[in-house]
Symmetry: C2
Subunit: 318 residues, 2 copies
């Protein structure tokens, strides 16, 4: 469930565009007014507002906001203004083009695994029309940034149009649970079989396989992976398994780490909140509370400040 | 250009359905009449006829034809009755499920490389809705049929949603021509770089890369590959390169081999003629004539007989 709260009745796109214009003009930008409007409109409404603004003032709203806002608020608002496919295409592109520090495999894993096959396809289409490349070739070209095996995993993850049906082949689930277990026990983590299974099977089938794994070996597959926080392949595998099967838990952990580590990780905080606000942020909040005994909004409020804080809290819908 | 010839005016779907019914009834099936109708209707018209037949006689036309026809004609007509995406999904599925002899990688390569990205996506969608699996996972599961490297190539080929635009990066073409040349010269054919380039770059970009290759090394990339007809990876690489850049030449060679080898290879003959009749069979015929100094129809007519021959010649449009 989305955490986004839209008022009823909602002002017309033209009224919103006029209010935004007022917020930009005069002495200094009125960030509070901008947040009060845009943090409470869904993707379709934001698109309409952008069109109305362009029509009224012959100016691109996103460009205008870039010149009016600064810092983390500007970045978060820029991400927020796009629809999901555009936003995710921009997120991956920004990551893929990063020379230093090394691109974060999690951004690619998240978008490949949490999205439905149709959503991922929509991201790939936007990516191609914006950047004149395929997502696959850009991820494949990054091979020198990661180990060979991480690169193999990522290329296969973005390159699969997974089956999305609910059918489960129980016999296959047993066979592949054993294949995974053998690969982990023989410490053959780079085993192509692990990559093949994780990158091609449907989510329903993988869920069945992971359940078999737990039933037969008494532990989850994620817990079977060695606890080596330095090994980027194990980290990538964990993120893959978690984001395929329990996206809310996966995002809860990202948020937890973004907040509790030394210095807030605003990039991750913004990415998760903006990306999930219209999808499942409500569930993520519940998982967060259950795990940390403190509401996510309180934890975030203690960690950041100003208009950026006001914006994220508004998206959290509390 | 298609080789298919449709009469003008064309009878209505109901008239065609009635004529087909007549051809099925009475003493023995009238194959000539069936061919004279169906070999001269395009995919949309055949679909309409199938619907009209179902409506008139509460019977599936394709099932009825299966019980009326036999041998190679039955098989060819069965393939012909479907639209391109259904047909190609069936072709790959039949190949992928074959235990013995080993599945023919060329069928998978053809469909992955000759198709446009949108056509391949349509095949994948039909495949999923018919078989409740993704094409990717079925191809990936075949790893034991082929060498590891052939399997890697095929999985990556079916798993890419290539960019379809015409933009070319000349600098990149030079760099990747050298990468390919180095891999071939070092006999590192299994080199992941070769697979990465062939499976992720757009066709326009690959064409530029292969042209650079020719300019800089004085020979085509295909000719640089060792002439080892036993090595399945070289064969698969050649088929990939040829079907990506010169599909008509690729199909001409398939047809030539299907005809001149000991005993006609009816499977290949049927596949190519039926698959290309509504697409580029006219060009394939021209390439065939140029290469063999004999019209394709003559060569086929000498090699096969009966109604099967009449059907293929009708599709050839001569």
């Amino acid at each position: 469930m989305a955490s986004l709260k839209v008022p009823h009745p909602v002002p017309s796109p033209t009224e919103d565009a006029e209010s935004l214009r007022k917020a930009f003009e005069g002495w200094g930008t009125n960030e509070k007014s901008i947040i009060s409007i845009l943090a409470h409109r869904d993707a379709a409404q934001r698109k309409q507002i952008r069109l109305a603004y362009e029509e009224l003032y012959q100016q691109d709203l996103i460009k205008r906001m870039e010149s009016e806002l600064t810092g983390h608020l500007e970045k978060a608002m820029y991400r927020w203004m796009f629809g999901p496919a555009e936003r995710e295409a921009i997120l991956v592109y920004t990551e893929v083009r990063k020379a230093n520090p090394t691109p974060d495999p999690r951004v690619i894993i998240e978008i490949a695994c949490v999205s439905s096959p149709e959503e991922l396809l929509a991201v790939k289409k936007v990516y191609q029309s914006c950047y004149k490349h395929s997502l696959e070739e850009d991820v494949a070209s990054l091979r020198s940034c990661w180990s060979r095996i991480v690169s193999q995993l990522l290329v296969a993850l973005v390159g699969t149009y997974r089956y999305d049906g609910g059918e489960i082949d129980t016999r296959l689930a047993h066979v592949e649970a054993k294949t995974l277990h053998d690969a982990i026990n023989e410490k053959a983590f780079g085993h192509e079989e692990v990559i093949r299974i994780l990158t091609t099977r449907s989510k329903a089938q993988l869920n069945a396989t992971f359940n078999c794994y737990k039933d037969e070996y008494g532990t989850t597959i994620n817990k079977s992976l060695p606890a080596d926080s330095e090994n980027e392949f194990f980290l990538a595998l964990r993120a893959t398994i978690r984001s395929l099967t329990s996206p809310c838990k996966y995002f809860e952990k990202l948020l937890r780490n973004a907040i509790i580590n030394h210095g807030t990780d605003e990039n991750t905080l913004t990415r998760v909140i903006v990306m999930r606000a219209e999808k499942d942020l409500q569930e993520i909040k519940e998982v967060y509370y259950k795990r940390n005994n403190v509401p996510l909004a309180h934890a975030i409020a203690k960690d950041i400040s100003g208009d950026y804080k006001a914006f994220l809290l508004a998206l959290l819908g509390d």
